[in-house]
Symmetry: C2
Subunit: 214 residues, 2 copies
């Protein structure tokens, strides 16, 4: 079975703290109205019951819209709500094991920050790469050293997998991110903390579309 279709253009990663009193689900609702094409639920803080409840609410919102929901790290949460996929980092479960647990048709993404992380046992089972961080970001203080757009380009040259660029990416540098080899932009705070998530998502969608056609 082939993996279900997905579009990395405007890839939103949730952050409950940044969403503030508006909440994760309402922020995502506004953002998808602006053009977010894929949502990743990331929550390394809260307990599992809360994660499952948030994930279920996001599925109720996104499935009718045909926008995939991917769960960061937690295969159990993904299976519990029948999410569209899982995204793992270098300290999470190995991609081959994740693939075994989620089956062939769910989307599987992997974070990489160096060409040396493109090992066949991982790469052969994933559907896309999250590449970065381009810049240092306060959202993920323990992230690897920033790799710049040169780092993205190096990984782009080394693999055919679709790439979503992450780490300090926003409208003003979005064109550079796509030109360095990205198929889309992954953002956290740019949307989650925005006064108007819909407007920011819409601007990012326009930047990606322009960069791809240019």
């Amino acid at each position: 079975m082939a993996v279900r279709p997905f579009d990395l253009s405007v890839y939103l990663i949730t952050d409950e703290t940044l969403a503030g009193p508006r909440g994760v689900v309402e922020t995502v609702r506004q953002a998808v109205a602006g053009g977010v094409t894929l949502v990743q639920l990331r929550d390394p803080v809260n307990k599992t019951r809360h994660l499952v409840e948030t994930a279920a609410a996001l599925m109720d919102l996104l499935r009718p819209l045909g926008i995939p929901l991917i769960i960061n790290d937690r295969v159990d949460v993904a299976l519990a709500v029948d999410a569209d996929g899982v995204h793992v980092g270098q300290s999470d479960m190995r991609p081959a094991k994740v693939r075994e647990l989620i089956g062939p048709d769910r989307i599987l993404g992997l974070s990489v920050s160096r060409v040396s992380e493109l090992v066949p046992e991982d790469i052969d089972v994933v559907d896309y790469l999250g590449v970065g961080p381009v810049y240092f970001t306060a959202t993920k203080p323990n992230a690897p050293t920033p790799i710049g757009f040169e780092g993205v380009a190096a990984i782009r040259a080394a693999t055919k997998l679709p790439i979503v660029v992450i780490g300090g990416v926003q409208a003003k540098n979005g064109e550079a991110a796509i030109r360095s080899g990205g198929d889309g932009l992954a953002v956290v705070s740019a949307i989650m903390a925005a006064d108007d998530p819909k407007a920011v998502a819409s601007e990012l969608a326009a930047v990606v579309a322009a960069a791809k056609s240019g």
Copy 2:
């Protein structure tokens, strides 16, 4: 399919910090030599890859001995290593959903501290209860208010499920824990931080055997 057999008599819950430089796997190895009958891997701190590696090492140790390994909270880790079961608390995934994910034959345990938590939707799908905390313990500072042995007895009177008593339980009060309705003693620091885990496990096994026959 019936759930696989298990014995709650001396139920060890791991703690990597308390194990210190000896490590979780070596501490468990010594403890099972003394009479531990079931091991629960609990690690709310480390990343998923580390959890899976520890769980796999414990499976290699325990499966040949016929001692079940149960994973706290993380259904994904349990499935990844084909563990014998999962233990959840009141803030983890709902037991009915866990049962759906782990299938009918794996062991499923639930922490309860009040009779009001014995709701049919949970109770009908679990195989045993972890009841406590009897006393306040530093191992789990956010645990519910201690319920004493009276609290254990109240839950014992309200359900036929096997009960393992937890929270400040050790050799000197183990008899009281069994007499209050427990089928076994769950310990963390008493074994994980012990100079001689085998000796402590052996003492606990003797206490449980004496209390059950007395």
